[in-house]
């Protein structure tokens, strides 16, 4: 394992120190437990908090700032943070208006965040959780822990953050969140495996011309292992998996998010995005907004994911609203 780190045991805190130094105007970092909160003191509306294992940067820590998250709780690499860390983020950001916790659907995250929400509620705060489970790779969700939360999380955090920023109350923020969760689907593919610092070896083995289709963001296995194919065929496979799952019909408006899993060059990510745009156009689906780049990653894993969100006027307005975070920024 070759990594630019000092010690696997301190990698998350060491990295947060760099984030804090780089973006002192946007975020404040507290350590032990590790949390990232907004540097400004926003008017006390609803606060939006998310978190999960580290190693998916910029998710979630890079999305703290005006118009998006009030707090992020980075756990150890690929491991959910514990309830006390989540509670610390709640205490640091949450007032009368309450908080919404955005939780990716992994057993660990759900158990830890729900425990924290319970404890906060016991202290009289109105804290609710929304669980995002957008990964269509998990086919039969009754025989499993359910679909995983993946790329849709980025869109959810942006949109919910905008709703909170404009002053929506917790009911309204929660209802926007549930609308996004219902309307978003994703699929991922890996070309290589990530290496967790404290493990020191790649999380899985993949042949020289194999890809893992339906990969999660922790190197969990996907739907199937396939021989590598041209980008055109791969994008078709990905777009079909999502469109058929909805199913999406002609004339619908969508946001298309083509994401790098971390190690894939932007050259390839844009290439795949261009193909997906044409495949959707061929189906009569209107791409009205897009996001392209590494926003929810799996360390150095090469691969991409695609996420499609069915848009309406309300979501479009919230998507377009200004945002100012380390990793996502427009309008201010």
């Amino acid at each position: 394992m070759k990594k630019i780190i000092n010690d696997p045991a301190t990698v998350v805190a060491d990295s947060l120190r760099g984030l804090a130094a780089a973006h002192a105007d946007l975020v404040r970092v507290e350590y032990d437990p590790n949390i990232v909160v907004r540097a400004d003191s926003p008017a006390r509306g609803v606060s939006v908090i998310s978190g999960g294992g580290s190693g998916h940067e910029p998710l979630h820590t890079g999305f703290v700032g005006p118009g998006m998250l009030h707090g992020a709780v980075p756990g150890p690499v690929f491991t959910s943070p514990t309830p006390d860390a989540v509670q610390a983020a709640i205490s640091a950001t949450t007032g009368e208006a309450g908080a919404l916790l955005v939780v990716k659907n992994y057993t660990g995250d759900v158990l830890n965040f729900e425990t924290a929400a319970e404890l906060a509620s016991a202290e009289g705060l109105d804290v609710r959780t929304v669980v995002i489970d957008d990964d269509v790779a998990v086919m039969d969700s009754t025989a499993t822990a359910g679909r995983r939360g993946v790329g849709g999380t980025v869109l959810l955090e942006k949109i919910v953050g905008a709703a909170a920023e404009r002053g929506d109350d917790l009911d309204a923020v929660e209802s926007v969140a549930r609308a996004v969760v219902e309307r978003v689907r994703s699929i991922g593919v890996a070309l290589t495996a990530p290496t967790v610092p404290h493990v020191g070896e790649p999380s899985f083995e993949l042949g020289d011309d194999e890809v893992e289709f339906g990969i999660g963001i922790h190197g969990e296995p996907g739907r199937e292992r396939l021989p590598i194919e041209p980008a055109q065929a791969l994008a078709e496979r990905m777009v079909s998996a999502i469109v058929d799952d909805f199913p999406l019909g002609e004339g619908e408006d969508v946001l298309l998010f083509t994401n790098s899993m971390g190690g894939s060059p932007l050259l390839e990510v844009y290439l795949a995005h261009g193909i997906a745009e044409r495949l959707l156009a061929d189906r009569g689906i209107n791409v009205v907004r897009r996001l392209v780049g590494p926003y929810i990653t799996s360390l150095e894993m090469q691969g991409i994911s695609m996420t499609i969100l069915r848009m309406d006027d309300r979501l479009t307005e919230l998507w377009d609203a200004p945002v100012k975070t380390p990793a996502l920024r427009w309008g201010m």
């Binding site: 690929f78 514990t82 057993t107 025989a143 967790v196």
Partner: protein, 207 residues
């Protein structure tokens, strides 16, 4: 004959040693069907627990178990943290203020732990989780409760071993491994294995 607070603390230290020793093994089990962190997660939690116990061992067995619960909840993370944490929390409640634990209290504590895991995680036997080790362990413990604490724990450990092994044949239906579907068959569940290891450490400590 019964277990004092110090005995429980000693059992937890023994468990911590086992976790350290088997850390790589547990992580390796979590690699093909999970995210390769189960060993690290438990090690982080049990090391913290040992540090806490080094400072002071609480007065009662129940208080020791409660410290274990809160430490594991705040240090382990992942799925295993809240699950094991809840198990110890329920066990602590089950043993109450007793100064010493007899065999049937130990069996009852194990049962309470199982109930906690099931309440949180909603897994059943056959889902290929720690429940596949813990449920038979609880049943074996109950059957041995007239033979003393050591016998209870050793029966539990034996049954847990067997239960853990059974997960190899199963299709996982809870936790990360469930994403694999049929591909999870042939793999020992890391949480079931760690449950068996913990119970074995407790049993050895009680001899």
């Amino acid at each position: 004959m019964g277990c004092t607070a110090n005995d429980v603390a000693a059992a937890l230290r023994a468990a911590a040693d086992t976790v350290t020793e088997h850390c790589a093994e547990l992580t390796d089990l979590d690699r093909p069907i999970g995210d390769a962190d189960h060993g690290e997660n438990l090690k982080r939690g049990f090391e913290a627990l040992v540090e806490t116990l080094d400072e002071a061992v609480p007065e009662t067995p129940g208080a020791v178990l409660k410290v274990a619960a809160t430490t594991l909840i705040s240090k382990v993370g992942g799925a295993a943290g809240p699950l094991y944490g809840t198990a110890f929390l329920r066990a602590a409640t089950a043993v109450g203020q007793a100064a010493e634990l007899d065999a049937s209290t130990v069996a009852a504590a194990l049962n309470a732990g199982l109930d906690g895991v099931v309440a949180r995680g909603k897994a059943e036997v056959g889902d290929a989780t720690m429940v596949d080790a813990l449920k038979p362990a609880v049943e074996a413990a109950r059957a041995a409760k007239d033979d003393g604490v050591a016998a209870v724990l050793s029966a539990a450990a034996d049954a847990a071993d067997e239960g853990a092994t059974s997960t190899k044949q199963l299709v996982a239906r809870k936790g990360r491994a469930s994403y694999l579907g049929q591909r999870s068959v042939g793999h020992l569940d890391p949480g079931a294995r760690s449950t068996a290891l913990l119970l074995r450490a407790f049993a050895e400590a009680a001899r």
